[in-house]
């Protein structure tokens, strides 16, 4: 690790001027940034500890929630309002990492965490367009079992590793940020970017901006929602495929529905096509399977991850059947 300075930000207002310097970076729990510094992927000159930013979890006027950027992942998952009203979010967080890491990780850090692509992490031995723009991508012809089947580009095929963000995508969360250009709110669907020709640009956060909070709107469907994660071992592993879903039923029909996939794309993948096909239609396993097939029809599997298309289809059909209480 190269030498690095460390300061604690006492208030939100203190951060923007501190962030202005070259290599100045925000530090949450450090579970991603410290690891990447040790591997030489990240080389900040100053760490600005922002764990004193608000960490409260409060009910909003519309009945939704406002979660402070510095709230620890475990605190969000355990919060009574989250457990009762947003099981999808509680379960997604609880499926991620380990209890120790969830105690350390902040909500903002989770949103900003970088890909787990092994070539991205291998500074000495691998080419990576995300880490060193223009150098090439060793994953495309390499070991790509964990890589994307949707939304990738010829520059980068890395997946976004977060579980929490998949639930936030299904919940239409909004990311409250502040910075030199003033405060603004970014819908979660626009927060993470697809790689295109610039895989090094991962989010809509502008230079100097700080995540302040996450707004989770009131969601009638969230009461009947869950998160399912499929991985190489039963616990403490990143997703091969995960699904966050919630629905409301009107007799046997689907009144409303939300679906997002993890593990298959460079960002949490909102399955808008499947949602549109199912909304207003019958809650039957045949309908679930057809919608899953339509959503995955655009998948472009690689040599190592063709199984993900079928796995994603089956996972989605299974979780919807479970939520709707229909047998398969």
């Amino acid at each position: 690790m190269i030498p690095v300075g460390y300061v604690r930000a006492s208030s939100l207002g203190a951060i923007p001027p501190m962030l202005a310097g070259d290599g100045h970076r925000l530090l949450g729990g450090g579970t991603n940034l410290v690891d990447l510094m040790r591997k030489g992927v990240e080389r900040p000159s100053l760490l600005i500890d922002v764990t004193a930013l608000p960490a409260t979890i409060e009910e909003a006027a519309d009945g939704g929630l406002v979660i402070g950027a510095a709230a620890r992942n475990s605190a969000v998952a355990a919060h009574p309002l989250v457990r009762v009203r947003y099981p999808i979010l509680s379960r997604a967080i609880l499926s991620g990492a380990s209890a120790q890491i969830r105690n350390m990780a902040t909500v903002a850090g989770n949103l900003m965490q970088r890909t787990r692509c092994v070539y991205f992490n291998d500074v000495a031995g691998s080419r990576c367009n995300k880490r060193a723009p223009g150098s090439g991508c060793d994953a495309i012809g390499g070991f790509n079992r964990y890589h994307a089947i949707l939304g990738a580009s010829s520059a980068c095929i890395a997946t976004h590793p977060s579980d929490m963000c998949v639930a936030l995508a299904a919940l239409d969360a909004r990311i409250r940020v502040d910075g030199p250009g003033g405060a603004r709110t970014i819908p979660i669907g626009e927060f993470h970017r697809l790689p295109g020709d610039t895989p090094e640009i991962e989010t809509a956060l502008a230079p100097g901006e700080v995540i302040v909070a996450v707004e989770v709107p009131a969601s009638p469907f969230a009461g009947r929602s869950t998160y399912r994660k499929v991985r190489d071992r039963a616990s403490f592993a990143f997703a091969l495929v995960s699904v966050a879903a919630g629905l409301t039923l009107d007799k046997e029909r689907i009144a409303d529905i939300r679906i997002a996939f993890g593990g298959v794309a460079p960002k949490p993948w909102r399955a808008l096509q499947a949602e549109a096909l199912l909304r207003g239609g019958p809650a039957t396993s045949a309908a679930f399977e057809a919608a899953a097939a339509a959503e995955l029809a655009h998948a472009e599997p690689l040599a190592g991850n063709a199984f993900k298309r079928e796995l994603a289809k089956r996972s989605l059909s299974a979780i919807l059947a479970e939520l709707a209480g229909v047998s398969r």
Binding site: P3, V34, R83, F236
Partner: protein
């Protein structure tokens, strides 16, 4: 400010790169806390910060400034072992012992989490409190601590025994 380590005040290092793990082992010679992967994946370095289990390899020592750290040395001793330490011995919860301090620190915090109603990914009723610790619940909640010797059966037995004593 200072870091309270097992009740004693220690100055935070001037070099921000020093991990809490390296401070404990290299500077304070508290070698009970182990280095495994040094990248968050094994749990051997687990300690308690303000009572919560965290990974000392991914914590910069400066981040712990003003907080209180408990390591395995602070949990119990040969003369007066922590109930989990006694149970690990009774149930053969280790072979080489390398993962053991991390397992025991993690388990101590885990029992408190369950008592407070912290759910896990496996908990069917997310609102139940306290949580009943089944074998599968313990395995899920302890999945951040690997054991290369495969002593898991004894580890889970030991934790379940102490959990039952807690509940009684």
């Amino acid at each position: 400010m200072a870091i309270m380590i097992n009740g004693a005040a220690v100055a935070a290092p001037g070099d921000a790169r020093v991990s809490l793990l390296d401070l404990l082992r290299e500077q304070l010679h508290l070698t009970g806390t182990k280095v495994g992967c040094n990248q968050g994946a094994c749990g051997a370095c687990t300690v308690l910060v303000d009572g919560e289990r965290v990974l000392s390899c991914l914590t910069l020592a400066v981040q712990a400034d003003g907080r209180s750290v408990t390591t395995i040395e602070g949990l119990g001793s040969a003369e007066s072992p922590h109930p989990l330490q006694a149970a690990f011995i009774k149930h053969d919860g280790f072979q080489c012992g390398y993962c053991t301090p991390g397992q025991i620190c993690a388990a101590a915090a885990m029992l408190r989490e369950a008592e407070a109603g912290m759910p896990s990914y496996l908990t069917a009723d997310l609102t139940a409190a306290p949580v009943l610790l089944s074998r599968d619940e313990v395995r899920e909640r302890m999945s951040g601590n690997l054991c290369r010797c495969g002593a898991h059966n004894g580890i889970v037995d030991a934790i379940l025994e102490v959990a039952a004593e807690h509940a009684a």
